[in-house]
Amino acid sequence: MNTATKATTAETANANTPSQATDELAVQMIDVNKWYGEFHVLRDINLEVMRQERIVICGPSGSGKSTLIRCINRLEEHQRGRIIVDGVELTEDIKKIEEIRRDVGMVFQHFNLFPHLTVLENCTLAPIWVRRMPRREAEEIAMHFLEKVRIPEQAHKYPGQLSGGQQQRVAIARALCMKPRIMLFDEPTSALDPEMIKEVLEVMVELAESGMTMLVVTHEMGFARQVADRVIFMDQGQIVEMNTPEEFFSNPQSERTKLFLSQILH
């Protein structure tokens, strides 16, 4: 990115638990299996995500990539295996689930902003009600992140008055206001008009450069090349291939990966 964004990155990295050593595990998935009824959607998933690592997950629709990251904050329940997030294992215990959700931000394909609240209220709601932060402080933090995603002037509008790209940037700011240690992105640009994809990707690149731990389900291969530490290709509920972006794109190993890449890179 440009120099202006470089200047802001160090600051965000500091805000993001500088005490954590980079070799620490952020997410650990061990033999994770999940079924939707009879359908075996995740099969023996083993994945370790380091702190500050950026992972891009791609694959055909129905391959289980969204399900995988939704298991990390328990929007989906896994039926076998273990998932450990930030040193806390996900079990039935709702207290632990809520604890993990506080520290894991998520950005959805369809933004899922709260339409009855203004942009600012969307951003301050969780800090006030979950983190019990004073309103004034929450609003300062919200404005800080709204400036980061370059829409502070929209703070008092309702989500319905914004474009798709703006809404998605608000959604990113809303997640960041909780000062998460891990960010999950579930196809963040798939529902956007072509003209708006870039503005969202730029924000995500800046976030990646600030040292955030990120798991991103996306088909934006340019983004994967630019920021990913690892690219994961999934098919039929399994991890088929995993490699650095350079190797993944220039020298894919499995036939399935080659076919997939030949179909999306034209």
């Binding site: 959805f108 709260f114 339409p115 979950v130």
Partner: protein
């Protein structure tokens, strides 16, 4: 072919500024031309419609105003003159007005319920105006302090120098308003609780909610009222006596709560799954998610249904007249039997009066609901 090739390339350097629409399509005249007189058939329908409206309005004006009797001491004022029937006998309504308003409430104590009305309006109006400040205190006063005050004033407290007025003496519009407002205030929160219960993951809670809703929806309100007034005392120990007004009051409130629960459930189902997921992903607990994200949107969606239930409840209060309570309808009907005012138009006048009073309250609720819908509209699309 040659004409096509000439126009293949095109480009624009200046964008066209927006222009106003052609005048014939806007304004009152444009609207009328499009909607009322677009062709000969529509024009015909317009004139037939106007004629029907004229028939009704002219009859109503003639009956209620032109031929009406406004003053008089007894039935003689409203008897046919020279064989021609007079219009509405407002003199009778005037003579009975006090009774229609409060039933058999002692005249010397009338100030008590008038004070209850005044305080009620003073607390309700600012709560209904969205921009008025102090909503929390206002709501606390209205829903916690006010019921106590209203009870003390209406029923009485000898220690405060207010003689007891038994509920059997309550009647008329006063009784109707008491039953309706208590029913409204109880049925909405109770309905929300049962709607949430019916969608709960906990089987016992879900079963209890379904059982409650289906039971109360499955029996007619008249049955509920008869059960509460005739059967309930048989099941209770002899020394326990439930007040004659409280019993149907509870029945009406629970009955409306069951309907309310289904209305609210409809709203809950209309909220996209993504809203739940976004709230959960932020770490909100179930109650915070419901209270801050889901219910505000769901209730807004079903304002028409909620107000529909309120209006239904308001009118259903008239059914208590069949178990011996003299609500507005009951007391008006009872007064019709009085030979002092027996004239050919007394009954028509009485029912016209009733219709006007009920319409005033129901239409008021309806207009307010439309206002709230517009006010809460935040321009979002789903």
């Amino acid at each position: 072919m040659s004409s096509n090739t000439r126009h293949i390339a095109f480009h624009r350097d200046e964008m066209l500024p927006p222009q106003p629409p052609p005048p014939a399509t806007t304004g009152v005249l444009g609207w009328m031309r499009r909607n009322l007189f677009s062709d000969w058939f529509n024009t015909l329908l317009t004139f037939i419609g106007l004629y029907i409206i004229w028939l009704i309005v002219s009859w109503l004006v003639k009956f209620a105003l032109l031929d009406a009797v406004f003053t008089g001491e007894d039935r003689n004022a409203c008897l046919p003159r020279d064989g021609v029937e007079v219009g509405a006998c407002w003199a009778y309504v005037q003579a009975r007005f006090n009774q229609f308003m409060d039933g058999f409430y002692p005249s010397a104590q009338e100030w008590r319920y008038l004070l209850v009305y005044a305080v009620g309006i003073a607390l309700l109006v600012p709560l209904l105006i969205p921009k008025a400040p102090g909503k929390t205190i206002n709501a606390l006063l209205l829903f916690v302090a006010y019921p106590v005050l209203a009870y003390v004033l209406l029923y009485g407290a000898p220690s405060l120098g207010l003689p007891i007025v038994e509920t059997t003496q309550w009647g008329g519009l006063l009784l109707t308003l008491v039953i309706a407002s208590v029913g409204i205030v109880i049925s909405l929160p109770l309905g929300i609780v049962f709607a949430l219960g019916r969608r709960s993951q906990l089987p016992v809670l879900r079963f209890l909610s379904i059982a409650f809703i289906e039971f109360w929806r499955g029996v007619p309100l008249i049955t509920v009222l008869f059960m509460s007034s005739v059967m309930l005392p048989l099941f209770l120990p002899e020394d326990v006596t439930l007040d004659k007004v409280v019993r149907p009051l509870v029945g009406v409130a629970l009955f409306a709560a069951a309907y309310m629960a289904e209305v609210v459930r409809g709203g809950l189902q209309a909220i996209p799954k993504g809203q739940y997921e976004a709230a959960q992903a932020l770490g909100l607990t179930y109650w915070k998610m419901m209270g801050l994200i889901i219910l505000p949107q769901a209730l807004k969606l079903v304002i028409p249904g909620i107000v529909n239930t309120f209006i239904g409840l308001f009118k259903d209060t008239s059914l208590v007249s069949i178990i011996g309570l003299f609500d507005l309808l009951g007391i008006v009907q009872a007064s019709l039997a009085d030979p002092k005012w027996s004239t050919p138009t007394t009954a028509s006048t009485a029912y016209l009066f009733l219709a006007l009073v009920y319409f005033f309250f129901c239409y008021g609720m309806s207009r307010y609901s439309i206002f709230m819908e517009r006010y809460l509209h935040t321009g979002h699309k789903r």
